[in-house]
């Protein structure tokens, strides 16, 4: 199943667009096939976008799940670098014991993000 990112948003920059991509990914999970993210024609990237999409999924399901379930094509070097920074940061947060405690103190956190 391929998701064309340029049909979700014009730029891989903003949090709201990252949420849209995340929702597009989640909507395909029941199909049990690998999800391919096609970044053709996406030129600009910021960590905010990947935090809201891939980062959220890492916190929710773990990095191994991402690596098994999601692949990417037509992603520029800049996009790869930005993806990696957000991914690695999310993995680190997920492994941090202080994270679960921190989540417990913020009333607006999603409870499932601590899983």
């Amino acid at each position: 199943m391929t998701i064309k990112v340029n049909e979700v948003c014009n730029y891989a920059i903003f949090e709201q667009d990252g949420i849209k991509l995340r929702e597009a990914i989640l909507s395909q999970l029941d199909k049990k096939e690998q999800i391919v993210l096609d970044f053709e024609n996406i030129q600009f990237f910021a960590t905010m976008f990947f935090n809201a999409s891939i980062g959220w999924l890492v916190l929710r399901y773990g990095p191994e799940w991402i690596n098994e379930k999601i692949s990417k094509i037509n992603l520029s070097d800049l996009g790869e670098t930005t993806w990696k920074h957000s991914f690695d940061n999310a993995v680190q947060i997920r492994q941090d014991p202080a994270y679960k405690e921190a989540v417990a103190h913020f009333g607006d956190e999603d409870e499932s993000a601590g899983a």
């Binding site: 014009n10 667009d17 600009f44 990237f45 910021a46 800049l78 940061n89 994270y99």
Partner: protein
Amino acid sequence: MPEITSRSTTTLTISSFGDDNVYDFLKNSSLMTSFIRQCGNNVTLRFQKNYVSPAFAVPVMAIRDELREEERWVYFNKKDIEHNAEVLTFFEHSGMHDSFDTKSKKLVEEEIGKEDIIPSSIWASKAHMISLEKIRAGVLSEDTMVNDSVELLVPLYVALEMTECYPDLISGIMELYANAYIHGKGKSIYSIAQKALDGDILVAIYDNGIGIPQSYRDYQQRRPEGQRTELSDSEIMNWAFLEGTSTKQAQKGIPCGVGLPSIRRFSDRYGGEFGIASGTGIYYYKDGKVKSEEMSNGMNGTMFMLKIPCQEKEPRK
């Protein structure tokens, strides 16, 4: 209608602002904006030194807009414009000449296009402002920030054939805009991009938000009392550039804390340097080395300046 009262005018002479030394520029910006805010009067800026960096337009535009709400005005002395070609260039490049009286504006407009007036070694975009208030209100879309930053850099891109680093530069600027938009809570972002006299590319960005130190202190207040940490403004600036730190570590399941460190990586990639001033803290970075200190005059909001050597068009591996 508010009652209009006359104010006296205080003159501030700018003698060393033209240098594009990032660290000194940020300190001078803080000093100047602090002085203008506190003096309570209208202000006339006079230029002693011949060269005025177009990046100077960023803090001046920001404070000019802020002072308008108090019915205070920032003036420039017409003689400085008439007799000083570099100052004239500054006004032309900054896009600020609309701020001034009819005679000054006419003078600038008459001179624009005369190539012997505009030094070929300076090239700058117009300083421009993005209204974060309008984006938050849905009047403008978030894509406006990208479109405006693309527009900001297109002149440099065309003039300098920055093909290799152009997407990186836009993305790097967007990390800063994103920080200002999400964390800064400011009304606007002011930006300018230029090619300086010595050939380097400069980008200056200012947002009139609450500033990084105040954002950190608000975050600490949300924490349980026994877990709060008190830091000075310069210590907070150092903290902000650590990987994984954020005043919103994971809000609604979204991890944070990579934006500012990514700017450091961007700077390394192109052999650049940058500085950021917020509150009384200043953080300067070049070639893996950090210099941070407390300033005597605080910077309202956050001012950022990036310098990239123009000759290094290939990114470092």
